[in-house]
Amino acid sequence: MTHSPVARRSGGRRRTRRAVVGLILAAGTLMAPSLAGAPAAQAATPTLLNVSYDPTREFYRDVNAAFAEQWRAETGDRVRVQQSHGGSGKQARAVIDGLMADVVTLAVPVDIDAIAHHSGRIAADWRTRLPHGSAPYTSTIVFLVRADNPKEIADWDDLVRADVAVITPNPKTSGAARLNYLAAWAHALRRFDGDEARVRAFMSRLFANVPVLDTGARGSTTTFVRRGIGDVLLAWENEAHLALRELGADAFDIVRPARSILAEPTVAWVDGHVDARGTRALAQAYLRYLYSAEAQTLAARHFYRPARPEAVDWTRAERLPAMELFSVDAVFGSWSAAQATHFDDGGVFDQIYTPAGKGAR
């Protein structure tokens, strides 16, 4: 044993102890506001939790402010709407697993169906409870291309050209991407008069042109816009416009195909939660407010297609060009049928991506 000096040890110990005390004090100071602050803020105003999907952040920020103002004018009460955003499917799972959402405002109806089916906390007939099939605003799939459209991409058929690289998120992980896929499928179905073998070949060629499959829609936008990969991004119309506004209107153009799919983001209150929390009236008022003139105008301002265009103040929003849109139900029977055929494990999408099926079929 070569070391002995006891003085050195005890000095070190004193310093260590001082450091530990300091750390504990620092931690205490940091935690105090969070422990004391949270309950006080919650007791003051009733809150709603709106569990939504990624691209609606900017829209609901405006809606929530307008609703709080209107609610206060009407009832004299304050209300605070908390937001949660994420991938639509992931958000649905969180609600099923116990996230106490008062209302859900998700990308595709199947996600709310899933909550109703797996948790029973939303009534099965939820789509009939609000006007327009509980879809206060809709959208569609368009193409975002590089400025002046150098590859001259005009319609769905151009996506399978050998010289075109297509960016879309993975339909297995992104609800938005399922619409991209279904829109392309529906186009091919019409083009080839329902010859499914040729439709599959078309889809295989399309996905052979996809160099990167991001897990979410915004990831794909970043890949296309910031990394400069691909010639065309398949995107929701509102997302394409937002990307244009946020990331450079000079660098990109929006191309609208002749026909595209109707995207129906739907909304519902969560019966199991609003009853437990005593927020049913508030939640219903909030969702009905989405159909008001003000909220419809806000939807239009955020590049959605409002369900009640006649209510919109068009001096404050830009009218989107009319397009021929078909619904998922019309082409595929129902969302759940489309889901089961195409996206479930071993479904058509997986078959397209088996090594044997790629390109050959």
Binding site: K172, V212, L213, R227, I229, D345
Partner: protein
């Protein structure tokens, strides 16, 4: 500093019967107190935080049934994803084992400008959220990036290819090797190296015969941890991998896909497969280390 004992590892020359063949029952008697409480805390904490939740995972995967589990395990897509994850993690851990050891050695032994900065940067992969790391690496190694552009000119694609996965895993795994080795390198007694040198050993021999053996356990640990961490990594990889099925799809992404389908049993089953392979890898490395320790002890 401590006595020249580093190489003898756990050899215990003190009072009481040493470890090794003399052990009776399931543990060797020792004069050191605290076995009960510390092992109790360890097992209790491990049980609550790790074992019970993981048991829930295994339990949920049994809903799948043996036949379906087996089909999933043999599914080419599952196999491809597992191969991608384990293959990329192995390569990345190998890169880290070599360069991480070098970095640890340089940081501990040499004094040069910028050493403290480099030392600080090593922890970065833990502090940066993995998603940020993935975004930064994708920007850097992407076709327009600072490094991606020159590499693309050479015909090398890193981002959105399997090589991108390796880059991300090198990033997340590096601190494991460096930080495991650093304290041990600092502990190596220079007297041993001096003794070796004075006995006529050349530097290379000293490194091979004296330094390397004493670093081996920590080095193996670092490698194992970097490997284990790489296998499961998700956040940084999905931004740089490209995620094409059968090409650059990692096993954790497969789990996410199963979850999206509300197929919890299949998701947990893939999780259990990954867990079993990682557990086996870690166990083998830890057993090898225990064996190495005993070998050194018995040789004395």
């Amino acid at each position: 500093m401590t006595a020249p004992r580093t190489v003898t590892a756990a050899a215990s020359p003190g009072p009481g019967p040493g470890p090794g063949p003399a052990r009776r029952g399931w543990r060797a008697p020792s004069v050191i107190p605290g076995f009960g409480p510390t092992l109790g805390i360890t097992l209790g904490y491990l049980g609550l935080v790790v074992l019970i939740p993981l048991a829930a995972l295994v339990w949920r995967s049994t809903e799948l049934g043996a036949a379906a589990f087996w089909d999933l395990a043999r599914d080419p897509r599952t196999l491809a994803a597992l191969r991608t994850s384990f293959g990329a993690a192995l390569i990345a851990a190998g890169v880290n084992a070599v360069f991480g050891a070098l970095v640890a050695w340089v940081l501990v032994r040499y004094r040069f400008a910028g050493r403290r900065l480099l030392d600080a940067v090593v922890d970065l992969p833990f502090a940066l959220p993995t998603a940020v790391a993935g975004i930064a690496l994708a920007a850097l190694y992407g076709p327009q990036g600072w490094l991606g552009k020159p590499l693309a000119a050479l015909g090398i694609q890193v981002a959105y290819a399997p090589a991108g996965i390796v880059v991300a895993l090198v990033f997340v795994g590096l601190p494991f090797v460096v930080r495991t080795l650093q304290p041990v390198i600092a502990e190596i007694d220079r007297e041993w190296e001096e003794a070796a040198a004075s006995l006529g050993a050349r530097r290379a021999q000293t490194v091979r015969r004296v330094i390397a053996p004493s670093l081996l356990p920590a080095w193996a640990t670092g490698f194992a941890l970097a490997l284990a961490r790489g296998v499961g990594e998700y956040g940084s990889v999905i931004f740089i991998a490209g995620n094409l099925p059968h090409v650059s799809e990692i096993a954790p992404l497969l789990i996410v896909i199963k979850l999206e389908e509300f197929n919890y049993p299949a998701a947990t089953a893939v999780g259990v497969m990954m867990l079993s392979i990682s557990f086996a890898l870690l166990l083998v490395i830890n057993l090898l280390q225990a064996w190495n320790r005993r070998r050194l002890t018995d040789a004395r």
